[in-house]
């Protein structure tokens, strides 16, 4: 206990004569250091397992040095000769030098793969030309064009020019269905490969729909749970939580069992003669499957915040409104609902953000039309196009952050109650 006394030098001092501020700072500093030491393992863990890898991944959305690393001579040529210069003998000499090195180091495939993202067929062009690269003699232009005439393609050279700097916006362009044109400008990707804009839209639309469905289903459940006597509501709560504790995969596959065309639901419908045996309804491996399974899986995330907000609302408010002449609908709409808004907001935000990044359920029950953007992110990861996957993931993150910001502006994040 620091008992303050007025010292000779002015200002407050502790009993042993040290300035109060200094003593306080020392004591608090010690406590802070101890606290920091206690959380240090967690901080380090988060740093190494979360911040660093995710940061690296986001960086890799801008950079791919598979080509630049293996093509130093071409890189130098592109630096000296700005866009628009003729592709002359010196360019082909640089190409020949890089291909020769590529043959020795077995890197022609890597180089070609990077260009192949933009110019199809480039992979085999690089590997097949590199196979004989040590036999090229000047003039290199004739020698290389004699080996494969496709080298005389302006799009190829433009693509190599862009790839020779390891930092590139191309993956972000591709992630919104754009690409670089032959002259280095920006144009839309050919129609048959446009998919990402549509998938982003679908992801947000389906997530919104799932959020609304969760709200419609979850609100009455949460209301019931909040108003029943505790011993009943605890029992019901277990029914809500039990699926929550069950593995995601189990819940998803049980929907497959229920909904598939030879599944339980269809068999019941056929059994009662409601539909014919040849008219079985397709409820899974399409968008319906994704919506049904995801709504079920995300429902607890809506019910729990709603319940925690509804439970402490005193029933007397609604009773008061009723006694003042409000109809039950008016009392519900004007008295009850506004009080549950923090729970609705929290549940909605939680379900929506989880749904936007959902991967495994659409992959299992979504068929072709129920796929979300996360499934394509997974696809690119699997196919080792990490830059593309990272670009898509960054865009998704950005979109969610924007929505979060909008939400904060419109509803206010303080208005959120998670329980």
């Amino acid at each position: 206990m620091a008992e303050a006394v007025a010292g000779s030098g002015g200002g407050l001092r502790t009993a042993d004569g040290r300035p109060l501020g200094e003593a306080l700072a020392q004591a608090q500093g010690r406590a802070r250091r101890r606290a920091l030491l206690l959380v240090a393992p967690l901080l380090l863990f988060v740093l190494f397992s979360f911040v660093v890898p995710i940061g690296q991944l986001l960086i890799s959305a801008f950079s791919d040095d598979d080509f630049a690393r293996n093509a130093p001579a071409l890189g130098a040529w592109f630096d000296e000769n700005p866009r628009g210069s003729p592709i002359d003998e010196s360019a082909y000499a640089a190409l020949a030098a890089d291909l020769k090195a590529a043959k020795e180091n077995r890197t022609a495939g890597q180089m070609g793969e990077r260009i192949n993202y933009e110019v199809s067929g480039a992979r085999s062009l690089f590997t097949s030309t590199a196979r004989n690269a040590d036999k090229f003699e000047p003039p290199y232009r004739e020698a290389i064009l004699a080996a494969r005439a496709e080298w005389d393609n302006p799009r190829l050279w433009e693509s190599m020019r862009q790839a020779s700097s390891s930092v590139t916006p191309n993956f972000f362009l591709a992630a919104v269905d754009l690409r670089r044109s032959e002259t280095g400008g920006i144009e839309r990707a050919p129609e048959e490969v446009r998919v990402y804009q549509m998938l982003f839209m679908r992801t947000f639309a389906l997530s919104a729909l799932i959020t609304v469905l969760c709200l419609l289903l979850g609100y009455p459940i949460a209301h019931l749970l909040a108003t029943l006597p505790l011993r009943y509501s605890n029992l019901l709560m277990i029914f809500v939580l039990l699926p929550f504790w069950t593995s995601l995969l189990v819940r998803t596959t049980s929907w497959i069992v229920l909904l598939q065309s030879e599944g339980v639901l269809n068999n019941i419908l056929v059994g009662f003669g409601i539909i014919g045996d040849d008219g079985r309804i397709r409820m899974i491996y399409n968008q319906t499957g994704t919506i049904v399974a995801m709504t079920h899986i995300l429902l607890p995330f809506m019910v729990l915040p709603l319940y925690s907000v509804m439970r402490p609302i005193p029933p007397s408010y609604v009773r008061a409104a009723r006694s003042l002449g409000a109809s039950s609908w008016t009392a519900f709409r004007r008295i009850y609902v506004p009080q549950t808004m923090p729970g609705v907001a929290a549940g909605g935000l939680l379900v929506f953000i989880l749904a936007v990044g959902y991967y495994i359920t659409p992959a299992l029950v979504g068929g072709a039309t129920g796929q979300l953007i996360s499934n394509l992110i997974a696809f690119h990861f699997e196919n080792s196009n990490w830059s593309m996957a990272a670009a898509l993931a960054s865009l998704l993150l950005l979109a969610v952050l924007i929505l979060y910001w909008l939400y904060d502006r419109l509803i206010g994040i303080d208005n959120l109650k998670l329980g």
């Binding site: 190494f48 397992s49 660093v52 890898p53 690296q56 960086i59 890799s60 950079s63 180091n105 077995r106 890197t107 022609a108 495939g109 890597q110 070609g112 793969e113 192949n116 993202y117 199809s120 067929g121 992979r123 085999s124 590997t127 048959e192 490969v193 446009r194 998919v195 549509m198 998938l199 679908r202 598939q260 065309s261 030879e262 040849d278 491996y285 068929g367 072709a368 039309t369 796929q371 394509l376 696809f379 990861f381 699997e382 196919n383 080792s384 196009n385 990490w386």
Partner: protein
């Protein structure tokens, strides 16, 4: 950047220390991996004392590439398809395999002449020929489909179709069903109009396709009645039909033949044992042994003569082999160069086509 990634992966992933007498072999799961365990893994362990751990993937080339890129390899030997073997080798992700160390045929023919032409690559050794066929449930269609065009004929043979969720084999089948002779398929597919034509044919049944991703799925889809017919790897259907007595029939018309090869990823933790395993499992007897467990043709000429009965002791294997002359009347050899080159691009288009409503 890559180094950092390696460090963090190693820190987080707690890379398991390489254990001496053990190798990890990655394959495709189901009846196929089972046949490899019986024909290769068990005898290898019996002879050398090295335990073989068999792990499965939908396509082992994917984890191999990811592991080599991340510099954290746990696979010693992987079973991959031809275009992937060529591509990974070109990109420097595989160990080279010295062909002269492979065991010769029993009559002394060196391995380089004993293997079927083109089946020894710088970084890969072929084990089997398999084929993508389509199969149907004979209890659903007693008067079954007989040609590849029947697969696309929803009027004559109504019902859902199962297809692999990737462009390879599907595009070729679509063109053959559209009347392109097998010999011209890749010429047509090399043109933009040909690709459009193949997608248009797929489009005609798109609403009725159920997509499978792992080789073990199609027999399951057929057995569940979820599809009326499905494309599949011939050995999986053979296994369901013969070993599990399912009423499945293979249609060989329009079959697409491919190969599976052993590769050793660069940085494999037990390189020496891995190479020993590759040599051991690709000798004449082992390759012939595998045909005892699944209907895939061996990659060595000298093994063919040793093919006999299925493990049940009564089923002749030859009529079930993709290379049996009776099954070869309208067969297509998959063009690995085309797919090594165009796979990424066509996969992109395939994804876009798939995702569109």
């Amino acid at each position: 950047m890559k180094k950092l990634l390696v460090t963090t992966t190693a820190l987080v992933g707690f890379a398991y220390g390489a254990q001496a007498a053990e190798i990890t072999v990655m394959s495709w799961g189901g009846a196929y991996a089972e046949s490899q365990i019986e024909a290769y893994h068990k005898p290898f362990t019996a002879q050398t004392g090295v335990t073989v751990v068999s792990v499965d993937a939908d396509n082992p080339a994917v984890p191999v590439e990811a592991q080599v890129k991340a510099g954290n390899v746990s696979i010693d030997v992987a079973d991959v398809e031809y275009p992937d073997a060529v591509r990974l080798c070109d990109e420097g992700m595989l160990e080279t395999i010295d062909h002269s160390t492979l065991p010769p045929a029993p009559d002394g023919t060196p391995a380089t002449q004993d293997f079927l032409p083109g089946l020894l690559l710088d970084c890969a050794v072929a084990t089997i020929t398999f084929s993508t066929i389509f199969a149907y449930d004979a209890s659903v269609f007693p008067e079954g489909p007989t040609s590849i065009s029947d697969f696309f004929d929803l009027q004559k043979f109504p019902g859902k179709r199962g297809m692999g969720k990737r462009p390879r084999a599907n595009l070729e089948m679509a063109l053959m069903a559209d009347g392109v002779p097998a010999a011209e398929v890749y010429d047509v597919l090399s043109t933009p109009a040909g690709v459009d034509r193949a997608f248009a044919k797929l489009d005609s049944i798109k609403g009725d396709i159920i997509w499978w991703e792992a080789g073990a799925q199609p027999p399951q889809l057929l057995a569940d009645g979820e599809v009326a017919m499905t494309t599949a790897y011939n050995g999986r259907i053979f296994n369901a039909a013969i070993a599990e007595n399912k009423p499945f029939t293979v249609v060989w018309d329009g079959q697409i033949q491919e190969y599976d090869l052993w590769v050793v990823p660069k940085g494999a933790p037990n390189l020496e044992a891995a190479m020993e395993f590759v040599k051991f499992s690709t000798d004449t007897q082992r390759l012939a042994d595998q045909a005892k467990y699944i209907s895939y043709g061996p990659a060595r000429t000298s093994s063919s003569a040793l093919i006999g009965l299925f493990k049940d002791g009564k089923t002749e294997m030859l009529p079930h082999m993709p290379t049996n002359p009776d099954n070869m009347k309208n067969a297509l050899g998959s063009n690995f160069e085309f797919w090594a080159d165009r796979n990424k691009e066509l996969e992109e288009r395939f994804n876009a086509w798939l995702a569109a409503n």
